[in-house]
């Protein structure tokens, strides 16, 4: 469906929803909700005809934003919700169509800078909103899935403890293990590239290792290196070593024969060819491994904490709070870990852009 048709269907759904029950007071009992719903339908109705791009984007965005208040206001009033309030859910279905039309307008924006971020950002916020409304509307038990607002509350009120956990797991274990694992994988790869015997032995073995659940060595390393962060760093070293080894080895073959011949005709030594041609050519592969490892390392450290840790750390917090059924704290930890993982990944992506600006994928 094209966006105006989407908005038209949404308009019909939302108008129909106003005649269906929505909680004890209903739509007429909560003027705020009714006002929001009506304002949204007015925007949707205006959007049924074609405007210019800016006008359509503005109309669908304002319909979505204004209309999002109604379910929240209704859910604040007393009354049975869930299946007893079909009005809310039919309204929400219409709202989702409006969202879709807004997203298709947003994804038509020029994909540069903020334009590229607009559609995914709107989608993420909308997901959080739907999660909140559905959890509240169907009164999902908190043990099963806490609402985002509860998770946000935990994030704000228990920031001090969560910060200590983050420091223990991420700043101590992950960063040191990541640095050591990536560096040793890189060095061994350069060595294996020089000594072809080593390469022929290591490559098939690392293919084998990639099929093996490496996380399984966590209990052994915890036994060897103790409960503190050193054992988690050791797990991270092992987990990050092989992706780096394999990718760097692949990258060192990336410089093509013509370029090597040129270096040869310059009478360049092995070291000169390595540092001036082959390592720069291998950089995209190295960064690929760095990106893969950024998330692998964090996950490995958290899982390793299940096998024993001091009384702090993200993994410890998860296992301790799951046992006490404080699922909202667990989700707060997950949010922190996901945020840390994404930012780590993002930082590496930015550095990659700066270091491999010559690569075709960035030149477009």
């Amino acid at each position: 469906m094209n966006p105006p048709a989407l908005r038209g269907t949404a308009l019909l759904l939302m108008l129909a929803a106003l005649w269906l029950p929505a909680g004890a007071n209903g739509w007429l009992g909560s003027p705020g909700a009714l006002a929001s719903a009506l304002a949204s339908t007015v925007c949707a109705a205006a959007g049924v005809r074609r405007w210019n791009r800016v006008g359509e984007l503005g109309l669908s965005l304002s319909a979505v934003l204004v209309g999002s208040a109604a379910p929240l206001i209704l859910l604040g009033t007393p009354g049975p919700f869930g299946t007893a309030a079909p009005g809310i859910w039919l309204y929400l279905a219409g709202w989702a169509l409006l969202l879709w039309s807004a997203l298709s307008m947003l994804s038509g924006l020029p994909q540069r800078g903020a334009g590229a971020l607009a559609a995914p950002a709107a989608f993420g916020v909308a997901l959080l909103y739907l999660w909140q409304v559905l959890v509240a509307g169907f009164s999902v038990p908190q043990v099963l899935l806490p609402a985002p607002s509860q998770v946000g509350h935990i994030l704000l009120t228990r920031l001090d403890i969560l910060w200590l956990d983050f420091r223990q797991t991420f700043l101590k274990a992950v960063l040191s293990g990541y640095a050591m694992g990536c560096a040793s994988g890189f060095l061994v790869a350069v060595l294996a590239d020089r000594v072809s015997f080593l390469k022929r032995g290591l490559l098939p073995l690392s293919g084998l290792v990639s099929a093996v659940p490496i996380v399984g060595i966590a209990p052994i390393l915890v036994m060897w290196f103790g409960f503190d962060w050193q054992s988690k760093a050791a797990v991270v070293v092992v987990v990050t070593f092989f992706p780096m080894l394999v990718n760097t080895l692949a990258g060192l073959t990336a410089a093509d024969a013509m370029q090597r011949d040129l270096m040869h005709s310059y009478a360049a030594s092995y070291v000169q060819t390595l540092t001036k041609l082959r390592l720069p050519a291998a950089l995209p592969f190295v960064f690929n491994a760095l990106k893969i490892n950024s998330t692998l390392g964090l996950i490995a450290a958290i899982v390793a904490e299940f096998f024993g840790s001091p009384i702090l750390g993200l993994g410890f917090r998860i296992s301790a709070e799951v046992a006490r059924l404080n699922v909202d704290v667990v989700w707060a930890v997950i949010a922190i870990a996901a945020l840390a993982g994404s930012m780590f990944y993002g930082v590496i992506a930015v550095v990659e852009r700066a270091c491999t600006f010559w690569h075709p994928s960035y030149r477009a």
């Binding site: 043990v143 399984g216 964090l298 993200l314």
Partner: protein
């Protein structure tokens, strides 16, 4: 004639030696280092025990003792091999001590999750390829979903689903599924977009519908990408199933075996469970490889 036949055979033998030699050397090196490390890491405990018993000891008795401890810090390879052999071949399969039994539990969860994850991944990829809105707004979140440490919350998922009455295979399969779908989605989005514009234009001149383009052009073009992703997916699916077995509630499976080994200091048990996991991982990837060759032959391509 005869010499012409003999020549490639010699090079084939040389080729095998060329390939297997380095691997064998490195494996032998690893085992040697392993034995040495077993002496080094276990020596302290053994010496303590000798002193406690006030027994005289020599280098020979020390080495012998470090390679035959009941709960060593690092078991010697032959101890692991022996335990592996006993629990695999000499224990009845339905016994709780049998490694085959635990491996079976893990593999069934792995395969169930793998099937669901692959289906979900293909569906998402088809949606993303056909809808620019999904491409722009959903794909970034699928990539971001990889930074959520799902492995880390796997135990919680198992506990929560367990409290809802879902026990046994299903919760573990859910975790495997979450890990699996990602590589499949990413690979299939690439694969379904791999037909070149000329081919897509040809389909348009035939006035083919989107479903026909998908089924007759995009899907066959994506098969290579699909199998490359499936190899990654089945390995991560195994990791997911093992981590899903870590919570104490799980009674069976390789993950439960790892955890109980770690609680009771049964290092030999941990290592043989790990070896089993490694063998299963390699075996599952090899299975996907065989399937890939069969499909390639069916499609009339050189395997």
């Amino acid at each position: 004639m005869r010499t012409e036949h003999a020549a490639p055979r010699v090079t084939a033998a040389a080729d095998i030696a060329h390939r297997v030699g380095p691997i064998a050397c490195i494996l032998a090196g690893v085992i040697l280092v392993w034995y040495a490390a077993a002496v080094w890491l276990n020596a302290a405990q053994v010496i303590d025990r000798f002193k406690a018993d006030a027994r005289p000891w020599t280098a020979r008795t020390l080495v012998d003792a470090t390679w035959s401890m009941e709960r060593p810090v690092l078991p010697a390879p032959h101890q692991i091999a022996q335990n592996f052999y006993e629990t695999v071949f000499d224990t009845p399969v339905e016994s709780k001590r049998s490694l085959i039994y635990h491996a079976g539990v893990t593999v069934s969860a792995t395969l169930l999750g793998f099937v669901f994850g692959t289906l979900l991944g293909i569906l998402l990829a088809a949606g993303i390829v056909h809808s620019p809105v999904l491409d722009r707004s959903l794909l970034p979140w699928i990539i971001a979903s990889q930074t959520v440490p799902i492995l880390a919350i796997a135990p919680m998922v198992v506990v929560v689903l367990g409290s809802l009455g879902f026990v046994g295979l299903f919760p573990k399969a859910v975790i495997s599924m979450y890990l699996c779908f990602f590589p499949v989605t990413i690979g299939m989005v690439k694969g379904l977009r791999s037909p070149d514009p000329l081919q897509l234009d040809l389909m348009r001149t035939y006035s083919a519908r989107a479903a026909q383009v998908l089924w007759k052009l995009r899907w066959p073009a994506a098969i290579d990408f699909l199998f490359a992703s499936l190899k990654v997916a089945i390995a991560t699916s195994l990791v997911g199933a093992i981590v899903g077995e870590l919570p104490t509630g799980a009674q069976a499976g390789l993950g439960a075996r790892l955890l109980s080994g770690s609680y009771y200091g049964q290092t030999i048990q941990i290592w043989s469970a790990l070896i089993m996991a490694a063998l299963i991982g390699v075996g599952l990837v090899a299975l996907v490889d065989v399937a890939e060759r069969l499909v390639a032959r069916q499609m009339g391509r050189p395997a």
